[in-house]
């Protein structure tokens, strides 16, 4: 048997490792900045998960290292065998039941977070925004209920701070995934169905919008920007857009706020599509 001091020392070291690990888990910059209430909930869930995981990982590593230190074969033990311990029912029940309880607890907590993140806010009207994914750019549609006038299309996303937005996502071609890392939210954009998610914005700023499901050769360039602006600026932007929504829709000219995004995604997409078009590359593509 290993000496008492070795065991005590190891337990102390393991507890120290757990403490350092938990401290590190708060020090490490895991996430991008959080811009929604959902993001805060998810980040908290993650920290709970990490704190629950660290003792388990430390336990495994400690037992491995302790065994290597204390039980490694010493000279002269070449033919020695360990004690014939076949098992211990009580111990086995313990390490079946305890992880099961821990896991069920964690997964229940995650359902609470999920419910909070997805429930409809009481009283406040939601801003309905259409998201259209196609190879390889995003288009955002602001319906009459939001603009108060003609619907608007934009290649960049403008969102009012403090409000809850509800995205209705459709695809024109293959599956995309509409992911805004700062919101900690994503959902696939699937041809044939409309998918949704809800985000409650609580921080001003501009955040990357990322296509997060392989959609072809231009996948890594299928990006846009989400601007979370004050409600007043949001209304201003809506009004500035209503006048030229038809021209934006045809992607011929760009508005002041969307100059970069109106022409570039469409032209990029045309280039990439022609490069990857299946028919262009098929031998004898005559028209089968």
């Amino acid at each position: 048997m290993p000496s008492r001091s070795a065991i005590v020392g190891t337990i102390v070291a393991a507890l120290a490792a757990v403490a350092i690990g938990i401290w590190l888990s708060f020090e490490i910059h895991w996430f991008p900045v959080a811009a929604t209430t959902q993001a805060h909930n998810t980040d908290r869930l993650y920290h709970v998960l990490v704190i629950a995981s660290i003792p388990i990982f430390v336990l495994v590593v400690t037992v491995v290292l302790f065994s290597v230190w204390q039980f490694r074969m010493k000279p002269g033990e070449e033919l020695k065998d360990g004690p014939p311990i076949h098992g211990n029912t009580r111990l086995e029940v313990f390490w079946t039941a305890l992880p099961a309880a821990l896991l069920l607890g964690l997964v229940s907590y995650s359902f609470v977070v999920l419910y909070d993140n997805e429930k409809k806010p009481a009283g406040v009207p939601e801003v309905q925004i259409g998201v259209i994914g196609q190879q390889f750019f995003w288009t955002f549609e602001y319906p009459r209920s939001v603009t108060g006038g003609a619907p608007i299309r934009s290649y960049e996303l403008y969102l009012p701070e403090g409000d809850t937005v509800y995205f209705n996502m459709r695809s024109r071609d293959v599956i995309h995934a509409f992911w805004i890392p700062a919101f900690r939210l994503q959902e696939d954009v699937v041809p044939g169905i409309t998918t949704h998610y809800r985000a409650t914005l609580d921080r001003l700023g501009s955040y990357p919008v990322v296509c997060n499901l392989l959609c072809g050769s231009g996948h890594s360039l299928m990006r846009s920007v989400a601007h979370v602006v004050t409600p007043a600026r949001f209304q201003l932007w809506l009004r500035s857009q209503t006048g030229k929504s038809s021209s934006v829709a045809t992607a011929s000219t760009g508005g002041a706020s969307a100059t970069a995004s109106t022409s570039s995604p469409a032209s990029l997409s045309t280039t990439l599509r022609s490069a990857s078009s299946r028919d262009a590359l098929r031998p004898g593509a005559g028209g089968s």
Binding site: W30, P32, N41, Y46, L49, I56, F57, V60, V61, V63, V64, S67, F71, M73, E77, K80, D81, G82, P84, I85, G87, N88, E92, T96, P99, L103, L104, L106, S110, F111, V113, N117, D173, V174, I175, W179, P181, R184, L185, Q186, E187, D188, V190, P191, T195, P208, V210, L213, L214, G216, S217, H219, S220, L272, A275, S276, R278, L281, R282, P283
Partner: protein
């Protein structure tokens, strides 16, 4: 080593147990004909070479295969009329048909079907080709051979070839990702690189390498002279290089290799150039191979155990492969179906997944993951078996909680089929499905945890022999625990919604498949290398291999967790500049990780050629494979072993697992014969 093998072969040759040996087959002529054939006659004429089974016959038959595909295209297009098809002969149509006809022609050519063809035609069968056992020269590894030990080595070496190719593709990917912006390959090629990387390493490395190691040791461990269906075994091996060649050759297809990941999500996969079909068809061959081997394992384990080898006396490696084979047999048809759907969508316009024509996009993902989640366990359970063997023997202790170890495998088999939609938390499927799938996903960590804790308890108070195999086993315990923990995190839906399809997933899957499966493969190869070759590997190089692999593995994949959570998607050819530093670091570590594998290859090759000879049982293992010569005789046992105790009774005074009793079986064994599973002595 080769001449050893030859001698062993002649010694054992064929005795009264011949009938037992080939119990599942029919021997029409004495096997002695095989020996005559081996010794080689006068050099054959060209015509004879073209007729004899082998690569010459395969070559011209493959040309016939292309011709047949052409002919079939022409006939079908003629038959359906000119309005439907603009050309009677279409290059792409011929190519896709050839993906089926050429591999089958190859199999016919090398003689994979000879025995059955002769038998069906009522002609004298030629067991000298297909009932011949053993490898007598290196050339025999390039022939259809029905010896499970030859097939095991064929499987393992072929798989490692694809490991090197797949790893090389990964290093090319990391070259592209070393800096943001395209500097190495274009986006389309990059998509092909990671798609082929994943497909090769999943279908041509992890799954078959376990089938290879299992093939080699399972029959010996259970005291059987061979697998139940040796010819099927040979055929299932030869399907494998075909599938691999198909996936690699897709780089030469017009439009490049398949580029929709190994998941091949529709509708993108039906919209890509023809290279995608090389994946769809290649998976059929790899899958068929997998199913055949699994059936073979199941029948072998159920019917061919030695007297006294009850289920609860089976070594845990056998249990693990039993569980894995159940998974393979039940799950693999689903990926075959999913890829046939894509094939028909692409070639014949079936519109399975075209919402405009009544198709359903999400259906593909459900069918695909109904295989591909159990596949994760197909790629892990045999590794659990290897670790159980290594840890018990190298700790000189019985496995802690043997029965729970066996039951937890079965629990994983059952639960493994109930979690598939956790890959689809963000897919747009009905929201409620996430709840039960998250619960089962969390719960499946329990049987896995039982295994981890039991291994730890096995280490406790043991006498640890820290050689290379044991180091890999201990390394596995730590890295796999990390992969398991990130897996539990991914079961938590809100967190999964954020990191789904990011580099966090890449990190998780590599902690499970590299830190998990590959570590166990290395442990297993080092552990059984002396048995397979009769020689010892270089321990110093082995330890170098472990430490370089372990360190650079963690340096490569641990930062990916953070990169993913910070917002870097996977499967991108370029990325935002804020990820540049970490990605450069990851790339450099990944190249060093790749180079570390060269130590392993060098060690294996030189040790096989000239390593010091080793005894039959260098690790003092109790399981049956260590009780026979190294390498084992052609039919494994000169005497049928009788199993009288558990497989891991280390430290029990006078304990024996198997005895090689003379013909009259001791009366004591009759009571606890093979048909009483409760008779195990290790609980």
């Amino acid at each position: 080593m080769l001449c050893d093998r030859e001698q062993a072969g002649h010694n054992v040759g064929h005795d009264a147990r011949e009938a037992d040996t080939l119990m599942a087959t029919t021997v029409h002529t004495p096997a002695s004909a095989g020996q005559a054939h081996r010794s080689g006659g006068p050099p054959a004429s060209i015509g004879a070479k073209l007729r004899a089974p082998g690569f010459y016959r395969a070559a011209w038959l493959m040309l016939v295969g292309v011709g047949f595909a052409t002919f079939l295209t022409w006939v079908i297009r003629m038959g359906t009329g000119h309005q439907t098809y603009h050309h009677y002969l279409d290059g792409e149509a011929i190519m896709i048909l050839s993906l089926f006809t050429v591999p089958i022609a190859f199999l016919v050519g090398i003689g994979g079907f000879d025995y059955w063809a002769y038998w069906a035609a009522g002609r004298p069968t030629r067991p000298e080709d297909h009932s011949g056992h053993g490898a007598y020269s290196w050339k025999d590894y390039f022939r259809v051979n029905t010896d499970h030990k030859v097939i095991g080595i064929q499987y393992t070496v072929t798989s490692f070839f694809f490991l090197l190719v797949g790893g090389l593709l990964a290093m090319l990917m990391r070259a592209q990702l070393a800096q943001p912006g395209a500097q190495f390959v274009d986006a389309e090629t990059y998509n092909s690189l990671f798609s082929v990387h994943a497909s090769l390493l999943i279908f041509l490395f992890v799954i078959p390498v376990f089938a290879g190691l299992g093939n080699y040791v399972i029959p010996i461990m259970i005291g059987a002279p061979d697998m139940a269906f040796p010819r099927l075994n040979a055929l299932s091996y030869w399907l494998l290089p075909l599938a691999g060649a198909m996936m690699l050759l897709s780089f030469l297809a017009p439009g490049g290799a398949f580029a929709d990941g190994w998941t091949a999500y529709t509708p993108l996969s039906t919209d890509l150039p023809v290279g995608q079909m090389f994946f769809s068809v290649g998976v059929q061959f790899a899958g068929a191979s997998s199913i055949m081997t699994a059936l073979n394992f199941l029948v072998t384990i159920i019917t061919m155990r030695a007297p006294g080898m009850s289920f609860f006396r089976l070594p845990l490696l056998v249990w693990a492969n039993f569980a894995t084979s159940l998974l393979v047999v039940i799950a693999t048809p689903f990926i075959a179906a999913s890829q046939f759907f894509i094939l028909f969508d692409y070639t014949l316009g079936f519109h399975f997944f075209d919402p405009g024509k009544g198709g359903d996009v999400l259906m593909y993902q459900h069918v695909f993951w109904f295989y591909s989640h159990p596949a994760v366990y197909i790629m892990m359970l045999p590794g659990f078996g290897i670790i159980s063997e290594v840890i018990a023997v190298k700790s000189r202790k019985p496995i802690f909680g043997y029965r729970m170890m066996a039951f937890s495998l079965l629990a994983i088999v059952v639960l493994g089929f109930t979690v598939w939609a956790h890959h689809m938390f963000t897919s747009g499927m009905a929201a409620w499905i996430r709840i039960p799938m998250a619960i089962t996903t969390a719960i499946i960590a329990v049987p896995t945890g039982i295994k981890i804790f039991s291994w730890l308890a096995t280490l406790w108070r043991g006498v640890l022999h820290l050689d290379t195999a044991m180091l890999f086993a201990l390394g596995f315990l730590t890295t796999f625990t990390l992969g398991g923990i990130s897996g539990v995190m991914l079961a938590m839906v809100p967190f999964d919604i954020h990191v789904s399809s990011t580099y966090f997933i890449v990190a998780h899957i590599h902690y499970v498949l590299f830190g998990g499966s590959l570590m166990t493969v290395f442990a297993g190869v080092y552990y059984w290398f002396p048995k397979m070759t009769g020689r010892m590997y270089d321990e110093r190089l082995g330890k170098w291999h472990f430490w370089t692999t372990f360190v650079f593995f963690n340096l490569t994949f641990a930062p990916m967790h953070i990169v993913g959570m910070e917002g870097m998607p996977r499967r991108v050819a370029t990325y935002a500049t804020k990820f540049a530093d970490l990605n450069l670091f990851i790339s450099i570590c990944s190249w060093l990780l790749g180079l570390a594998t060269l130590i392993f290859i060098y060690n294996m090759v030189t040790s096989w050629r000239g390593g010091p000879r080793t005894g039959n049982n260098p690790w003092r293992g109790m399981t049956l494979e260590w009780q026979v010569s190294s390498p084992p005789p052609v039919f494994n046992f000169d005497r049928v072993p009788t199993v009288v105790g558990g497989p891991y009774e280390y430290g029990v005074p006078g304990a024996v697992h198997g005895i090689f009793a003379p013909a009259p079986v001791p009366a004591t064994v009759g009571a606890g014969g093979s048909a009483s599973p409760g008779a195990g002595g290790s609980g």
